[in-house]
Subunit: 252 residues, 2 copies
């Protein structure tokens, strides 16, 4: 844990917090928190700050927190992901939050098993703590927005009606694509590069031709990660890292 992330309703108006859960156990057992010690803290979707430990009990910790004025920017990368197997998704939540994602859209596709939608891995009670875990690792406070769409075509319609921001590049992972990532920064000239990237990752069996055509019609450009076919969770991590890298390079 590189930052202690707090929910808004956990912090009193005067900045005091009392924790008695896994975070308290971590503060006590791993970080050896003692009164007077300061730890990095953050408010979910709010500012970062610092927390001074005021009291350490057997299984609870009290802190007094002071927060910064500014809230970190939402990460400039979004993910459109064909719903993976529950086991894979469970492993992904924390990694996605750690890598930095503004919005995660989980969508159905032809080669997604229907029963994947009935899993508890899609319940906010399960995934929010995993997202928080990833943010605490990465020292971020911005919780990825999560939306779930059981119909691919309905999502495409929504995307059509969403105003496509001029500054957004849309990438479609495709081992056969010729375009490098830089070229796929999209419809903007080099002088005004894209400032956000939306990455689409298909199901294990791939998108169908029809789904791929629909994505392309909605502005997604094929980008190649080289000739190797990756599992969808590996592809997510690889593409998010590459998207952040290319954004850092083009906006530097």
């Amino acid at each position: 844990m590189n930052l202690l992330l707090l929910e808004r309703d956990e912090v009193a108006a005067d900045g005091t917090v009392r924790l008695a859960d896994a975070r308290a156990a971590h503060l006590i057992g791993v970080l050896k928190a003692a009164p007077g010690r300061t730890v990095r803290v953050g408010l979910a979707d709010g500012p970062k700050g610092s927390g001074r430990v005021t009291r350490v009990g057997l299984d609870d910790v009290c802190l007094h927190c002071v927060f910064e004025e500014t809230v970190p920017e939402r990460p400039p990368v979004d993910l459109l992901l064909a719903l993976p197997r529950p086991k894979v998704l469970r492993r992904l939540w924390a990694q996605l939050a750690a890598l930095g994602v503004g919005r995660i859209t989980l969508v159905n596709a032809w080669k997604v098993e229907r029963m994947y939608f009935d899993t508890h891995v899609l319940a906010p009670e399960l995934y929010r703590p995993l997202l928080i875990e990833g943010l605490q690792q990465a020292r971020d406070t911005r919780v990825p927005e999560v939306r779930i769409r059981r119909r691919f075509s309905a999502l495409m319609n929504e995307m059509g009606s969403e105003t496509v921001s001029d500054g957004e590049a849309r990438w479609l992972a495709d081992p056969t694509a010729g375009a490098g990532l830089r070229q796929a920064m999209g419809r903007r000239s080099a002088a005004t590069p894209s400032t956000r990237v939306l990455v689409a990752v298909g199901p294990e069996g791939g998108w169908t031709d029809r789904e791929r055509a629909s994505l392309q019609a909605h502005g997604f450009q094929g980008v190649s990660l080289g000739p190797r076919a990756l599992r969808s969770d590996t592809a997510c991590v690889a593409l998010l890292a590459l998207a952040h890298h290319v954004l850092r390079e083009t906006t530097a």
Copy 2:
């Protein structure tokens, strides 16, 4: 499975193979193999080829394989990884092989728990099938070489005596580094860019200052993945993907 990977001693001199293990079950149950059908095959550390199904039994499959003349190149990226927790390492093997690694060196470090070295996850009987699984996903045949070093300083001495190839860049993941990845392609001029990258990823708690200094003395340059601190398995996947990307770009 995008390619059926065979060990050398499984293939008779005339190219015939009989499988009765998980690969046979996959051919029968998932790929619905029938006599006459052709599947992509490969020889571990040998050429790719194609296999024609000649017989399908209840739980075994016979194929006749023809192999290409050339053997795929060894992936141009290597990994130096402080030994992670067994659970994390178990998850990594297949992903590393899928992303493409020439050699994986697992090393001790100050913040690595000693007991991690006593795990069965370090036994070839356990990790080789996982590497093969990753190669079958990525359609590659080159099995990563694995070496395990229980002493960091001994590995550094070895690296000192290894002839540092002019064409090799050495990267050290470091959130505080200023250098982008392109600059870290190393000691070579832009006209003759590095053709291999060796990526070092530290333990969860990070390298010590002394370990970091030793790595730098052995030619490792800090590269930043941005300000976010990543778990070591996420960092491995991200860095390997970035190393492949930068090599593709600079050697294109």
